[in-house]
């Protein structure tokens, strides 16, 4: 999981000077994490890189094959298509999730009793496994025995998973439904860090609710938005279980994302070489995106957000 430094608004005035001196003494604390990262992150990655230059069916012997796998993958029209579908799901699910998560997060940040109850309800999807969610939706969306025919509603009786465009929409909807609670939680935390004095000052200046939201809450949430977006964007590259169970990449290849393409190539078609090449591409895309997002907000991460507070 990519980590982006959380906003530093929590730091109390006067305590900022000590942080630099303490880092030397606690450096050893990164060792366990570093060990795990090397053992389960770097080493498998090198293994995959090695496999991408070989020919292997998963059970036989591994034969070196030079650039054959790469040539096969890069010349396959399925690759740009899978990249495009991955990008579409990434962009659209971000567009759906971010505004809704911010609104729900802001709503839940206020301390009111009934909101606590609502918060519990909102977080339920977060507790369910992707496979269970996918199977449930699959039954609900069944064109013959699902929710639509059950309620006698023509609007709900669509070929949800059998029409390419609709299936893509369903995937984005289910992904959003599943992950909005998580991101709302992040935003809720972010909103609660905003000093009340800023709102009080704005009220004195005569700002209304909407104006306060756009002039104080949103700018103050800048780093929270970057954190949450990084998680969404990088996370969406690895969507597999949900799509695998819900549509299996279908209909045709309408929802065949890169991760699914990798699995089908490796474990269904027994082509571990090309599958490893796809995996390497997946890692590169993820790295580039994470770096880009970090660049977006990272440059000024040392600046105070509390100017004027």
């Amino acid at each position: 999981m990519t980590t982006v430094a959380p906003p530093t608004v929590r730091v109390k005035k006067g305590s900022t000077t000590s942080s630099g001196g303490r880092s030397g003494a606690v450096a050893w604390m990164v060792l366990p994490a570093l060990f795990m990262f090397i053992a389960f992150g770097i080493i498998p990655l090198l293994g995959v890189l090695f496999l991408s230059f070989t020919q292997w069916n998963g059970i036989g012997e591994i034969r070196p094959a030079g650039f054959d796998s790469w040539r096969a993958v890069l010349s396959d029209p399925g690759l740009p298509h899978a990249l495009w579908v991955t990008f579409l799901i990434m962009a659209l699910s971000w567009l759906v999730q971010t505004p809704l998560s911010i609104l729900i997060g802001v709503f839940l940040a206020a301390h009111k009793r009934y909101r606590g109850l609502l918060a519990v309800l909102y977080f339920i999807p977060l507790l369910l496994s992707s496979a269970a969610i996918a199977i449930t939706y699959k039954f609900l969306l069944d064109p013959n025995f699902g929710l639509g025919p059950g309620l006698g509603s023509d609007l709900l009786t669509q070929d949800w998973l059998g029409n390419g465009t609709l299936a893509l929409g369903v995937v984005i909807f289910v992904v959003s439904w599943q992950f909005i609670p998580f991101h709302s939680l992040i935003y809720q935390g972010g909103v609660r860090q905003i000093p009340l004095s800023m709102y009080e000052a704005a009220e004195i200046d005569g700002a209304g609710r909407v104006r306060k939201f756009f002039s104080i809450t949103l700018p103050q949430l800048k780093y929270t938005i970057i954190t949450s977006s990084t998680l969404m964007v990088v996370g969406s590259l690895t969507f597999f279980d949900l799509i695998f169970v819900l549509t299996a990449g279908g209909p045709g290849d309408a929802t065949r994302v890169l991760a699914l393409d990798m699995y089908q190539t490796g474990f269904r078609a027994n082509l571990m070489g090309p599958a490893s090449a796809i995996a390497v591409i997946l890692v590169l895309v993820g790295l580039v995106l994470a770096l880009l997002l970090r660049r977006l907000g990272g440059g000024s991460s040392g600046d105070s957000q509390l100017e004027g507070a």
Partner: protein, 448 residues
């Protein structure tokens, strides 16, 4: 991807199990696991290990066979571990690759078995079968084709024969006053008549893709004869370009465009048995499916089967086609292979198990009771005495009288070619690609 050899009863619980297991398998882990009893590592205490599929009634019958063996051979116990269908295929591949396969490997034969053979992972049983001719002679000869690679036998055929047949709902035909189709032309003529009555002409669980493939298997055979696919199987260059192949694909798309299938068929999976439900609820008139669905329709369809509303027939001929109308496609059996990595003692236990316990009289009786035909000769009288005698006789005759019993394509071909096949079938049925593009895409994986 693979034929279901079992009838599925509980729609919801099965669906959840299936998906969860598939997702778990996708995450990948090492070594044996699952809901088996006793140890799963294999080999301890002079016994052997055996992995097979979950899902009733097959799971119960397989377990009973193991139990009978274990009761009779306390010193050579077989430890069983069970897996859900789709998860199993990935699981067994990983286990073979890691050298952790069970002694006895349950499988579908054909291209999958061939890939195990080429990797040197399974035992050659040719000499064992010639020493134990009685074991071989009591089984359907047609069942050995998918167990044979380069003239050598690598697996013991087991369990049941499951041809694909055309099921129909007699009430639906009575409603429009028509007779079951005797030719492809009659099928096409029936389509608008059923649609006018708001009955789907054919039920299809199209998201599963292998369900769509059964249609192509029959159209290829009826139009061009069994040689057309044989040429693909033999690795002939551009074999999919055969005019009969293009014609079959064109006819297929004609039926799809004429709304021959239930609306939204690409949203329906066969795992959920929704395709069977469409037929027995009368919302679809016909269904091309494996004989294993009979048990499911009997269990879930109320009085649909017991009330005599279910009809069945072999796929009808296509006008002007070259194929023999007695030909059929499907599963000629299931297959038990022995891991080459097992110890000599484990292999001996496995072979003795094949000889004494697999397809024993007690097991055969259970298969027949479940509505299936075991691949053993001379069960006519047992079949005749069963409650489903009429259907079982039809299955027995379809399987035994077929000039050619073509194994399902996705199992006959190598996993690489099978994956490409299913992928392109999905696109063909979505009308995303033309017959020519389909042939072109498939020609690229011939022999791979």
């Amino acid at each position: 991807m693979e034929r279901r050899t079992i009838s599925r009863r509980n729609l919801l619980s099965l669906g959840i199990g299936a998906g969860a297991a598939a997702a778990l398998a996708a995450c990948g882990s090492d070594g044996p696991s699952g809901g088996g009893e006793a140890n799963t590592g294999g080999g301890s205490g002079g016994g052997a290990s055996y992995w097979f599929l979950t899902g009733q009634p097959g799971e119960g019958i397989r377990s009973n066979t193991v139990k009978r063996w274990n009761d009779a051979h306390a010193d050579k116990k077989i430890a069983q571990t069970t897996f859900q269908n789709d998860a199993y295929k990935t699981k067994i591949k990983t286990a073979l690759g890691a050298g952790q396969a069970p002694t006895i490997i349950w499988g579908w034969g054909g291209g999958g078995l061939k890939s195990w053979v080429e990797a040197g992972q399974v035992e050659d049983l040719t000499s064992w079968f010639s020493e134990n001719a009685a074991v071989k002679d009591r089984l359907f000869p047609s069942s050995f084709g998918a167990a044979t690679v380069d003239g050598k036998i690598y697996a013991m055929p087991a369990e049941t024969v499951a041809p694909i047949v055309l099921f129909y709902n007699k009430d639906a035909f009575a409603k429009i006053g028509a007779q079951p189709p005797q030719s492809w032309g009659e099928i096409m003529a029936l389509v608008p008549r059923f649609n006018a009555e708001k009955i789907a002409p054919f039920s299809l669980g199209g998201q599963s893709l292998w369900t769509n493939m059964m249609w192509l298997e029959f159209l290829y055979d009826r139009i061009g004869g069994s040689e057309v696919f044989q040429a693909v199987f033999d690795g002939q260059k551009d074999a999919w370009n055969n005019p009969a192949s293009i014609q079959a694909l064109t006819e297929m798309q004609k039926l799809i465009k004429a709304n021959g299938f239930n609306k939204g068929f690409a949203s329906v999976t066969a795992d959920s048995n929704a395709d069977q439900a469409l037929l027995y609820t009368g919302r679809a008139a016909m269904m091309l499916h494996g004989t294993w669905t009979y048990g499911g329709m009997k269990a879930d369809g109320g009085d649909f089967v017991s009330g005599g509303k279910l009809g069945w027939m072999n796929f009808p001929p296509v006008e002007g086609g070259k194929g023999d109308p007695s030909n059929t496609v499907g599963n000629p059996g299931q297959y038990l292979a022995i891991s080459a990595k097992a110890t000599a003692a484990e292999k001996d236990v496995a072979k003795a198990f094949f000889k004494e316990a697999v397809l024993s009289d007690a097991e055969n009786k259970e298969w027949i009771e479940s509505g299936s035909v075991p691949i053993v000769k001379g069960t006519e009288s047992a079949i005749g005495a069963s409650k489903d005698a009429e259907f079982l006789k039809f299955v027995y005759e379809t399987a035994s009288k077929a000039k050619v019993f073509q194994q399902s394509w996705d199992q006959a071909l190598s996993p690489t070619a099978a994956e490409a096949l299913l992928d392109n079938i999905g696109k063909l049925f979505q009308l995303d690609i033309t017959p020519q593009q389909f042939a072109q895409n498939m020609n690229q994986v011939i022999g791979k």
